[in-house]
Structure formats: C-alpha cells, structure tokens
C-alpha cells in the first residue's frame, strides 16, 4: 500500500509539477543564491487573529494606581483580583491619572515566562480610530490594512509580499493560511496556500490505478487558461505537490513543546512544521476564535475561571509551545527569525454587562512575540476615568498600523509602507522590535514594482 502510494506520488510530482517547483525541489530554498545579490530577508511573520474581540482589559490587567480602582468599579464581577494579576507583573506605564501597574491574567502564565525572558512586547490601547464596534467591519478593515475602507481588493500581507524587494524571485511556499479559508490579510495573494491541515491536503483519493494520470490531466486542465480560477487551481496543485513531498510524513515537535490538544494547537504545530522544513515560509496566518463574550465570561463567581480563562490558557500554552518548538538547534533556531503578532478586531467595553460579560469595545493590546522583541510594555495608557473612555471603552492611543509597520520595516526590511498601508503616513516606530528604519518613504528601491499593475491591488471607495 505504502509502496504504491509513494510511487504514484513521486511520478505525479515529477511529471505533473510546474517547472518552478521541479527546479526548487530537493535544493532547499534558503540555500539558493539570491538573484539580486546580498542575502534575502529570511524573517518569518506569523499573524494570529483572535476572532470575536478579545477582552484585553482582562488579559493585561490594571493592578495598581488610580485606574485599578476604576477597573474594579467598572467590573465588579469580572475584575481579576489585584493580588492575582500582580503575581505576573508587567511593570507600569504613566497615565493621565498617574502611573498604572499592569499584570497578566493567571491563565497566561506561560506568556509571562516569555515576557520575563524579554521575548514579548505588549503594546497597549491599539486599534483604529475608524471603529463601529462591528466585528465584520473591524476585522475587514484591519486585515485589509485600510481602516474605513472595506472594498480594498488585497490584504496588507499580500501587498507586503508583492512590494518586498528583498525576497527571492522564486519561493516554494512563501505564505500560508492555516486552519480554513484564506485570511483577508492575504486576500488577492496567489502565493498563499490555505489549508486545513497537511493530513487533509492531498489527492490520495480515487481509483489508485488512475491517480497519477488524473493528477497530470487535472494540472493540464488548470494550466490551460489564464482566468483567475485557473490560476487558483494551479496554485492549489502546486501546494499539494509541495506538502505531499515534504510534509506528509507526520511531525514530531521538540520534547519540551507541548501544544494544546486543540484545533489551534494543531494549526500552530503545522506552521512550526513548515518553518522547520525550510520551504521558504515568510508569512503565516491563523485564528483563535470564540472571544465574543457578551455573557458568562466567568463561572462560579470566579473571574479566573470560565470561557475567557480557558481561551487565555489555550492561547498562552499554544504560543509557549510554538516558541519552544522553534527554539530548535537542529534547524538553526528559527525562533530567532520569528515575529508573531497577536491581534483582535477590538477590545471589549470597559464596564461589564449584567450577564457577567462584556460588549464590543474599542482599544486593545497588541502582543508581539519575537526573537528580536524589545520586551516590555509599550504605548500610551489612555486611562479609565469616565471622561477618558471612548463611549465607555478603552480609548485607542496607538494605530495598529504603527506596530505592524514597525515589524514590516524593521524585521521584514520592507520600507514600502506606502503600498502596504496606503494612506498611512508619518512612520514612527513604537519600539516593539529591534531593526533598522531604512528608506521608509523614500523611493530608493527600483525593483520594477512601480511599473506593475497596481490596479489589481487597491480599489478606492
């Protein structure tokens, strides 16, 4: 059985695969000479989206100062006890009512370890000024990278990949979206492979005697024309070839990396697998959903138990396992090339509702886990006094694009913020990661990109 399968697979690959993959197969991507001279940028960006609007005020919790009292008053049932949160102290930030001390939710203990190691940067009160407290508008605007404009035809990660001049001309698998359908931040990207899991991502069904020939014919059918649908099909076939060739053998994380036994944990594991396979992965997206806690955010009157605590636990254990798994000497410590951003469409209302839940809010934390993180607290604390809230919500003091821009410039070394975040000007790093602010806003790179057809990228309102 396995012999048959291998034979079929192999022949299918060799005869059916596109020239680009055939040329790259066997010689791993990073060992290729960079066509334009110099070393290609090899940093990896993972974007984790917490769907539903995560309650950031109960993850990064005021533990001291005037705003601790405000937090308790706003959240009589939901407030995490000061002593509990202060056991994982993040430090303090100046605020309009004096310094506020902040601490992590107890279920985020694994994240706190990363914080103490200086791997985790926490940027407070991030978001968009354009905000209607709508999940769908907010997610769409954020992932497209164009607040207030929902009909942009490409995602911000798509535009990064298209505008980066420091990536090799051919890449085996530059971008993935793991867990389901393609993320909106990768909208319009033909380089992105979306998949549920490597296990389900093969063409190993159908009468075996015809599999190889069917696969060749299928590729020919999709390569036979140039409509967007044909291109999408070719891309899917390429991806199947790559995954089958490299990732079908199962995956064993490092012993110390214990992923949560959940869909989210599996998806993180898949990304770690692709990173270690050295297929040239640069961009990965995944989701952790279920944060829309309008009710029952806590159980048994204990704010440290319930669905929110469970999700924080899953999130934290997952990220810690992912980090530990990539701290792998056998493949040159890929965590040193990693930057992982945790974002959500908005925070939740500062005050709790009567169902021990919270409604849609505004400002929220952005978490940045990176081999080049400048660990610690960042950003401007807006305060929790009634007049300082934005209609009852934590105010936004840092545009989310500011943090993402810094990662694009400093880690991915792509200065073309005018293309990645059109309409966003005045780049000013917040200091969440180390790196060089080279060439931002200066058209110093002549890579042919300017002559490309950007009509397909941005459709104005």
């Amino acid at each position: 059985m396995s012999r048959c399968h291998c034979q079929t697979t192999r022949r299918g690959f060799v005869t059916g695969c596109s020239a680009a993959i055939a040329a790259l197969a066997g010689s791993r991507f990073n060992s290729l000479a960079f066509a334009q001279g110099g070393n290609p940028n090899d940093e990896i960006l993972v974007v984790l989206f917490l769907r539903g609007g995560q309650d950031g005020l109960n993850l990064v919790i005021p533990t001291g100062g005037y705003d601790r009292g405000r937090y308790q008053a706003l959240r009589p049932n939901l407030a995490i006890p000061a002593a509990v949160a202060a056991a994982r102290p993040l430090g303090s930030l100046p605020g309009p009512d004096g310094a506020v001390a902040l601490g992590l939710h107890p279920a985020a203990a694994p994240l706190f370890d990363l914080y103490q190691d200086g791997r985790l940067a926490v940027a407070v009160a991030c978001g968009m000024s354009a905000n209607e407290r709508s999940h769908f508008d907010s997610m769409t605007w954020m992932e497209l990278g164009t607040p207030g404009v929902g009909n942009t035809s490409s995602g911000w990660l798509t535009r990064h990949l298209a505008s980066a001049s420091n990536l090799p001309p051919q890449m085996l698998m530059p971008s993935v979206s793991i867990g389901g359908l393609q993320a909106l931040s990768q909208l319009g990207s033909y380089e992105t492979v979306a998949m549920g899991s490597p296990y389900d991502f093969s063409l190993s069904t159908g009468p075996w005697s015809a599999r190889t020939a069917q696969r060749v014919a299928l590729r020919n059918l999709y390569e036979g024309d140039t409509t967007w649908l044909h291109q999408a099909g070719v891309q899917a076939l390429d991806a199947v070839d790559i995954v089958e060739l490299y990732a079908s053998g199962g995956y064993v994380p490092l012993p110390g990396a214990v992923y949560p036994d959940t869909w989210f944990g599996d998806n993180l594991k898949t990304i770690a697998q692709f990173i270690k396979l050295d297929l040239g992965l640069r961009i990965a997206t995944l989701d952790l959903g279920g944060w829309d806690h309008h009710e029952s955010e806590v159980v048994n009157g204990s704010p440290t138990q319930g669905i929110f605590a469970d999700l924080v636990d899953e999130l934290s254990r997952g990220l810690a396992a992912f980090w530990a798994d990539l701290d792998d000497p056998a493949v040159n410590f890929p965590n040193q090339r990693l930057t992982l951003v945790v974002m959500s469409e908005f925070g939740r209302r500062a005050y709790e509702n009567d169902a021990t839940g919270t409604d849609h809010g505004h400002g929220n934390n952005l978490l940045v886990l990176s081999g080049h993180a400048i660990g610690g607290l960042h950003g401007t604390w807006p305060g929790l006094r009634e007049e300082l809230l934005n209609e009852g919500d934590l105010e936004v003091t840092t545009d989310f694009r500011r943090v993402l821009s810094e990662i694009v410039v400093r880690r991915l070394a792509n200065p073309r913020l005018d293309l990645v975040f059109p309409g966003y000007t005045g780049y000013q790093p917040l200091g969440v990661v180390t790196g060089v602010d080279l060439g931002v806003g200066e058209p110093i790179f002549s890579d042919g990109f300017e002559t490309g057809d950007t009509r397909n990228w941005i459709v104005g309102p």
């Binding site: 014919a217 140039t226 649908l229 849609h360």
Partner: protein, 595 residues
C-alpha cells in the same frame, strides 16, 4: 438512482442521431452551438491579462446551476418543453418554481422517508420537551439539527423544488445561526421549518418577526437576555446591532458614531441610514422579546415552556426614535417591537441591501447597479405584500435581462459543487444517521458510514451546512472561495464519490453501468465516452483543449476512436477505474465550477 442503467437508454444522453460522435448537438433552442463554445487558447502569462469569460451554457443549464443546485438530465428535458423560446421557458419555469407546493416531489419525499428522520415532524413543544428539557446525551440533543442538515442535503440533491431550496439556503445564510449549540440544536427543526422555509418565498416583514421570536436566534444573538436597563439593570444590544448591520439595512447604511441629527436625509426627509443611537434604540425596542426558559424566566415569574413571550415588565418603556420615526413612551414590548420591525422592513436601505444580496446570489458577484436599483425599488414598494419575496425573485430572474445573460461571474461554493456533482452523477445516496451511533464503525449502517464519510470530507472545504459560527453567513463572493482549501477538499471529495463502493454491488455512483448501458458495444471509444459524459454533465461544449485532455486521459495512448473494452477492469489498463476517474476529473475541472 437518477440515471438508472437501462437497456434502452434515453436518447438525450446518448448521441443524437445524425450528429458526429465528437460533437454533441446543442439542445433545441440553445443560442450557443458547440463551435462557439470552443474558447480561444492563450499562452499562460501569469497574472495581468483580462480573463476570457467562460462561455454561457444553454439556458436550462444556467437556470439550474444558478437558481438551483445544478441539473439532472430529466429536468433539462422538462425545461426545454416549457415553451418555444428561452424567454417563455424561463418565465414558465419560474412560475412553476414559485409555487413549490404544486410541484410533485415524490422522489425527494421517498428519500426523506427513507432517511427515517425522527425529529422533522415534531411540534415546537415536542422539540423543546424531547431535546431541550430532557437531559439526554449530546447526539440526541442536537438530533433536530443533524437531521435537518441531512434533510437539507437530501432536498438539495433530490427535490424538484430547486428554487425554493436555493432560497432556503440563502435565508439560512442571511439569518445565519450556528446550529450545534445547547438551545439552537434542539429547536433547529422549528428554525428551519417554521421560520426559514415557511417564509422563504413570502413576506420579509413576517420572516423578520418569525426570526425575532425564534429561540435559535434569541439565544444565538442574545436578545433573550435583552431587558430594560432600569428593570433588570441590563440590556444587550448584540442582536440589535447585527439585525441592522447584517439582516436589514446592511453595513453600507451605517453612519457610525455620529449624532442622529447628522445622518443625511433622503428627499422625503427620512434618514438614509442608521447611527449608533439607532442601534441603542432598536435594542431598547426589542427589550422583553424573549422566551420561557428557566435560565431567565425567574425575572418575570415564568416557567420553562420554551414558548416565545413578550415580557412587558422587562420592556423599556422610555421613548425611542428609530430611523427618524418616534416610538412613544409607555408602550408594550409587542407594540414597540412590531412598530420597529415595520420601520426597518419598510426602509429603502433594507430594500437595497436585500436586493443586492439576492442579485449577488442569483446573478453575479458584482451585479449591475441598474439591476439592484430596480429590484430594490420593487422590494420596498412590496414590503407589505404577502408575496413580496416571490415577486422580487421573479423580477430578478424573468423581468430583467441580466440573469439569463450572465455567466461565470461566480463560482460554485463547496456545497453547490458537492450537490451539483451528486445531481449530475446520479448516485442513490441516502443521507442517514443512527442515534446514538453504535460504538464500533463495523456496526454502523452502510448508509450511515457513507453519510459520515461524505460529511467528514466535505467539512474541510469550509462550508459546513449550519456550521458557520459568526452571524454573517457563508461568504457569497468568489474571493472567499478561490483559495486552495476548498479546491483540494472538493477534489478529494469528488474522487471519493466516484469510487465509493455500493455494499459490494459495484461503484456507488453507477458510472460504468450507465456508460455501458448508454453506449452500445462497438461504440465505446475514448472520444465517445468523453463526449457522452461532457454532454451529461454540461450539455454544452467545453474548450477543445480541455476535451483533448480528457480524451487523452481515458484513451491511455490508444487511438481515441478505438472501441475500448469497458466491460473489463484488469491489469494494466483498469478501464472501468479509468472511466470512473474520468468523471471525477470532469467534476474537478474549472469548467464545472462556473456559475
């Protein structure tokens, strides 16, 4: 089986007399003879050059593909008999389909009966008692949801009421609720049967009220805990916000967090859309719209009957203003809420939003503005008509030219791919489950195994029926479905369909028997078999290069006019496997995905 193998095959699916073997004749009345269907080939240049649109198929195929879940051959013949011109046929078909009760649906009824579903006929009270109140295990609790899902597949595949099924699918997505939850699951038969299906072709205002009263939606979007702040100390605006944004006026009509006085007005002096203050007043107007569940009913001294109630004691009695209309203070939950529903159902932005979504479903991803304008105007003018939805559907499909003239601006979503393949292929699948499932797979009924396998393989395509968590419903734009996840999942699924074994009686899909029965011995060349199946699946030509690929695949290097020994399946050629794979390949091809 749809296409039961028979010694005397229907001539429609074999070669019409007098037509060369390689060129099936167009259906009578088709404006698109095969020659024009052969698309010019261009070299692959990568992204950039404009797409050549796929060639529009005969009208019957178009109608069944876009206003239904794909065609079965017998339906196309019936469609063509409906009139002398395409226009007559389309008008007659829509008239028939808009009266679904008058369409005999015996095969579908038989399939539903064979499914032996235990919950589809239960009353509201029975559903509540048997599946919510009874403290049974999870499989039994959500049985109304799982059985409705199986019935939905069954109807999509077997029902002749294809337009109704399409619109039910549309409304389920428009008023999306995730089914597999504690209250939603037990009450799913009510949600599907008494809310969505009962109003799918009727009046939107009535549909809306039924939606607002259904436990499934009340729990899913939290309105069951939306109470007057001064009474309960708590309100919940989740439903109000999604109602305006996703169900009625649409996000495009949102003016965000600006004062009410700044929302621009139309020439009649009505606000063009809504703002944050409207959301809050809509939430207030719907306070006390809840149902009798003991989690909450202690607040008003109720019980646990599951029945919808208007709780005036928890209704906000203050004055509200919604979209420029005053709702006076001191009214009951029923009066306030119904007034609200009148206001939002009658608002022109609602007509525009619903018309846009219906045109997007039925015509193309980006419907022409003049089509939306005319459908929206009609929608709004008919908002009190009991046949509002039917009349607008007729307008879009028949009275406007765009529907019949548009092709290839959409692709099938995963459910439509799977169902249209099952319809074209003609399997005799019974969608069936055992509750509770026997512990050992070997003890599972073969139909249950098959249903479960199909379900598992389909699940990874991203469009699980009733399985979409956020309230916006499965996306209806191609951008959401063009990525590799659904492509690969459905390629796998199609190959599973064509090779699944029918209890040891041969391949489930019956592809080879039908081929043998339809093509006489001596006429089973690769060319003939490919044309036969292209004809059955598409009823129109495919690009010549695509056809050549299929012929090459089947002929395995032999002369494509050679009569193939299709009664054998032996080493080294495995001809029957090859024919099965050929049909799978056609379902996997780009041509099969256009809508």
């Amino acid at each position: 089986m749809f296409f039961a193998p028979s010694p005397r095959p229907p001539r429609l699916y074999s070669r019409p007399t007098g037509v060369p073997a390689r060129a099936p004749a167009p259906l009578p009345g088709s404006e698109y003879p095969l020659a024009s269907a052969m698309r010019r080939k261009r070299p692959r240049l990568g992204p950039g050059p404009p797409d050549l649109p796929p060639v529009r198929p005969p009208l019957g195929v178009l109608v069944y593909t876009r206003a239904g879940f794909g065609h079965r051959g017998s339906e196309l013949a019936a469609f063509d008999a409906l009139g002398g011109t395409d226009a007559e046929r389309l008008a007659a078909w829509v008239t028939q389909q808009l009266q679904p009760a008058a369409i005999a649906d015996t095969e579908c009824d038989a399939k539903l009966a064979a499914g032996a579903y235990a919950t589809l006929g239960k009353s509201y009270t029975q559903l509540w008692q048997d599946h919510f109140v009874a403290d049974n295990d999870w499989d039994e609790r959500i049985q109304p949801a799982t059985e409705t899902e199986l019935a939905t597949w069954t109807r999509a595949v077997y029902s002749k009421r294809q337009l109704l099924e399409s619109l039910v699918h549309f409304w389920h997505n428009h008023f999306n609720v995730y089914a597999y939850e504690f209250v939603e699951g037990p009450m799913w038969v009510h949600w599907d049967r008494d809310v969505i299906r009962a109003h799918a072709l009727g009046n939107f205002r009535l549909l809306l009220e039924a939606v607002c009263k259904a436990p499934a939606m009340l729990v899913y979007l939290d309105n069951f805990v939306n109470f007057a702040e001064d009474q309960a100390g708590y309100s919940n605006e989740n439903f109000a916000r999604e109602l305006l944004e996703l169900h009625v006026l649409g996000a495009a009509a949102s003016y965000g967090r600006i004062p009410r006085s700044q929302v621009p007005l139309d020439p009649q002096g009505r606000p063009l859309g809504y703002c944050e203050e409207d959301v809050q007043d809509v939430a207030r107007a719907l306070t006390g719209w809840t149902f009798d569940i003991d989690w909450e009913s202690w607040r008003w001294g109720g019980g646990n009957s599951g029945q919808f109630v208007w709780v005036d004691s928890l209704h906000s009695t203050e004055a509200k203003r919604i979209l420029g209309v005053d709702l006076p203070a001191g009214r009951t939950a029923q009066v306030d809420g119904r007034h609200l529903l009148d206001v939002i159902a009658a608002h022109p932005a609602t007509g525009r939003f619903l018309a846009t979504k219906l045109c997007r479903r039925l015509v193309g991803d980006f419907p022409p503005p003049e089509l939306i304008d005319s459908a929206a105007a009609l929608w709004t003018s008919l908002w009190q008509s009991p046949t509002q939805i039917s009349q607008v559907i007729r307008h879009i499909l028949v009275e406007r030219p765009e529907f019949a003239l548009t092709w290839g601006e959409k692709i099938k979503r995963p459910f439509e791919i799977a169902v249209s393949a099952l319809r074209a292929m003609g399997t005799g699948v019974r969608f069936y489950q055992q509750v509770p499932a026997p512990p050992d797979w070997n003890d599972w009924h073969p139909d249950f195994q098959r249903t479960a396998s199909l379900h598992w393989m389909f699940e990874s395509a991203g469009q699980v029926v009733f399985g979409w968590h956020p309230p916006n419903g499965h996306p209806d734009l191609r951008g959401a479905w063009q990525c590799s996840t659904p492509r690969v999942a459905l390629w796998r699924l199609v190959n599973w369909m064509i090779e699944t074994d029918d209890d040891g009686n041969g391949r489930f899909a019956g592809i080879v028997p039908w081929t043998l029965a339809t093509l006489p011995a001596g006429e089973r060349s690769a060319n003939a078999v490919v044309d036969l199946w292209l004809w059955r699946i598409f009823h129109h030509g495919v690009p010549a290069a695509d056809r050549a690929q299929l012929v090459e695949f089947l002929s395995q290097g032999f002369n494509p006019d050679l009569d193939l020994p299709l009664t054998t399946n032996d080493w080294p050629y495995y001809w029957q496997d090859r024919v099965n794979s050929l049909v799978g390949l056609i379902f996997m091809s780009p041509e099969f995905l256009w809508r």
